[in-house]
């Protein structure tokens, strides 16, 4: 540190001298000023390091807090927690299997529904119409879909989507709940479209035009260029987009809680009511009285945290590798 001061000292003193001449201040005042500047500089630099460090510490602390708080249930239940098929807080039976299944089914169903749409948007904006008013409109639509708060999606779902699904169920001859996994997936699908779409657009745009021109000059039609050049080239980026949407879908809470029906049973079909990990936490966290109940909810939070972190980090890695190429 003393070395640094020696390097900085003459430089700032020169600046101090210049200031001294122009403003006609006394020399000692200028020297004092430059010393205080050096001090500030040091404080500023260490503040920056401290804050960057604190962000790392916060993330570590989040993980540790979750682990520590879910310790009672990990100790008491072990692996039975994940495999247990009944969730009955009254008689102290905690099995997270129904919620795991509920989360996986809703997320993947939402992904399956949303992927055709988000890829269509990505190709439309990246390849067919990268510029012009039509693409501006679509771009704004995507941003607005991402901007609407999830509680509003949920509210709208309860009053508009649920009756529609109930109608559909009556026509299909199933018990017309209306609420359930299918409804939750529909809403989730709308909510996650922007993530895969906007990332996909960037990737599709980055396909080198020399490759496309080569294919065109060989007589390929537009569709053939997209199918055989654009999509294979952008494959990994499109996959990263799917991963990021999946991360969103797994952690989404409010909209799902409002339409999924909140019943801790193993879903028998995609129309039956269910529960996801996030929705069970939202519903029961404040009611959880004894420690095992609370900590088993937190263990689900830990699981959710770990899974979304892995998905997000892999997705970001893929994007980084793609953009560096």
């Amino acid at each position: 540190m003393s070395n640094m001061q020696q390097v900085n000292y003459p430089q700032t003193l020169i600046a101090g001298n210049a200031l001294n001449k122009s403003k006609g201040l006394k020399k000692s005042v200028a020297a004092k000023k430059s010393f205080s500047q050096i001090k500030f500089e040091k404080i500023f630099k260490s503040t920056l390091v401290l804050i960057a460090l604190s962000v790392v510490i916060i993330v570590l602390a989040i993980f540790l807090t979750l682990v520590v708080q879910s310790m009672p249930s990990i100790k008491a239940l072990g692996w039975k927690f994940l495999g247990g098929k009944t969730w009955d807080p009254v008689s102290n039976v905690f099995g997270a299997y129904p919620f795991l299944i509920g989360t996986l089914i809703t997320s993947f169903l939402a992904l399956v529904i949303s992927v055709p749409f988000s890829f269509a948007i990505a190709i439309f904006l990246g390849e067919y119409y990268p510029k012009g008013w039509l693409s501006e409109v679509l771009k704004n639509v995507i941003e607005l879909i991402a901007a609407i708060p999830s509680v509003i999606y949920g509210f709208w779902g309860v009053f508009v989507l649920v009756p529609i699904v109930r109608d559909l169920e009556t026509r299909l001859g199933i018990l017309p709940y209306g609420i359930g996994i299918f409804t939750a997936s529909l809403i989730l699908a709308v909510m996650i479209v922007p993530y895969a779409a906007s990332l996909g657009r960037e990737v599709v745009r980055m396909v080198p035009s020399a490759l496309k021109e080569g294919a065109y000059s060989l007589g390929a039609t537009r569709f053939e260029v997209i199918k055989n050049v654009v999509i294979p080239y952008a494959k990994s980026g499109l996959f990263a987009g799917i991963l990021l949407s999946l991360g969103r879908a797994l952690g989404e809470t409010m909209a799902v809680t409002m339409v999924i029906g909140n019943s801790p049973i193993i879903p028998t079909s995609i129309f039956s009511p269910g529960h996801t990990m996030a929705s069970v936490i939202a519903n029961e966290f404040t009611e959880a009285a004894d420690s095992i109940y609370l900590s088993s909810l937190i263990e689900m939070g830990l699981l959710l945290f770990v899974v979304t972190v892995i998905i997000n980090v892999i997705g970001k890695r893929i994007i980084k590798r793609f953009t560096n190429e």
Partner: protein
């Protein structure tokens, strides 16, 4: 000859079909957006009047009532969250743009990425243990802390990206004049990139203004008017969630009006972000 002609025609037709399918699928996304907009506006616009904005919710069975407590609460919670998150986020962004290749920058960047992906309900749990359990009471300030945690990654990222875009010569010129490091950053670089940084801040506010899940176990909600940030406080998204899931029509009406106000608020913030980013691009 005829055969190849037919083949070419079929290929062109296939290309056209594919284009139409993609167009239709892409614009199908407009339908849910418009459906939500129109429904919220249709249900909400009749409920909003002066009385709705300035009065408190009435108990079930009484006509009227408003959402003054939620409006005030939302404003205060978001304000406190911004006060916590903006300085930390901007400083962390400065560190990341200044030190691109240090080990700390690598881990810090990773931490920001992770923080961005943390499900909002988990953020709620964390702040419950860090603040609510320690202070023994639900409070608005704990809600603000949870929202600040969600704002942080967006602010860090936008600050870092904006400062990276600034030419190195700017910094070199300032340093050559003998300016100390902190003044170079705070008086030269940051003002040059202010609209980029600002748009990140506004975007982050827009993202968290509608968040409900982190507030469930922190701000908790409060049916009365409260401006003490160390006490439980109502906020717009919480009010919508609580009243929308209740079985009473009066409360549903309040929730529709609140939804419209929240929607307008969030959209306004998004539009402001767009305007500031546009300004930024033109300057560059």
């Amino acid at each position: 000859m005829n055969k190849t002609n037919a083949h070419i025609k079929w290929r062109i037709a296939k290309s056209n079909i594919a284009k139409t399918v993609i167009l239709v699928l892409a614009f199908a996304c407009v339908i849910p957006l418009l459906a939500i907009f129109f429904y919220i506006i249709k249900e909400g616009v009749t409920k909003i009047n002066w009385h709705f904005i300035v009065s408190l919710p009435k108990p079930v069975g009484e006509e009227g009532g408003g959402i003054a407590n939620a409006l005030l609460g939302s404003l205060l919670i978001v304000l406190c969250a911004s006060i916590i998150a903006i300085p930390i986020g901007i400083l962390c962004g400065i560190y990341l743009s200044e030190n691109k290749n240090t080990r700390l920058a690598y881990y810090s960047r990773l931490a920001v990425d992770i923080l961005q992906g943390v499900p909002s309900i988990v953020v709620g749990i964390i702040i419950y243990f860090w603040i609510v359990k320690e202070t023994q009471t639900f409070s608005a300030i704990s809600g603000s802390a949870a929202l600040a945690l969600m704002m942080l990654p967006i602010i860090v990222r936008s600050t870092e990206e904006t400062l990276k875009l600034l030419p190195d010569s700017l910094k070199e010129a300032a340093l050559a004049l003998g300016l100390p490091y902190h003044r170079v950053i705070l008086k030269v670089l940051l003002p040059c990139g202010i609209s980029g940084v600002l748009s990140g801040v506004i975007l982050s506010v827009a993202r968290i203004a509608g968040e409900t899940a982190p507030l469930l176990f922190t701000a908790f909600g409060n049916p009365y008017l409260n401006s003490n940030i160390f006490k439980p406080m109502q906020s717009l998204p919480l009010l919508i969630f609580n009243y929308a899931t209740s079985p009473y029509d009066d409360w549903h009406n309040l929730a529709w009006g609140a939804s419209l106000i929240l929607l307008i608020w969030v959209l306004l913030l998004n539009i402001i972000t767009k305007i500031t980013t546009r300004k930024w691009r033109v300057q560059l």
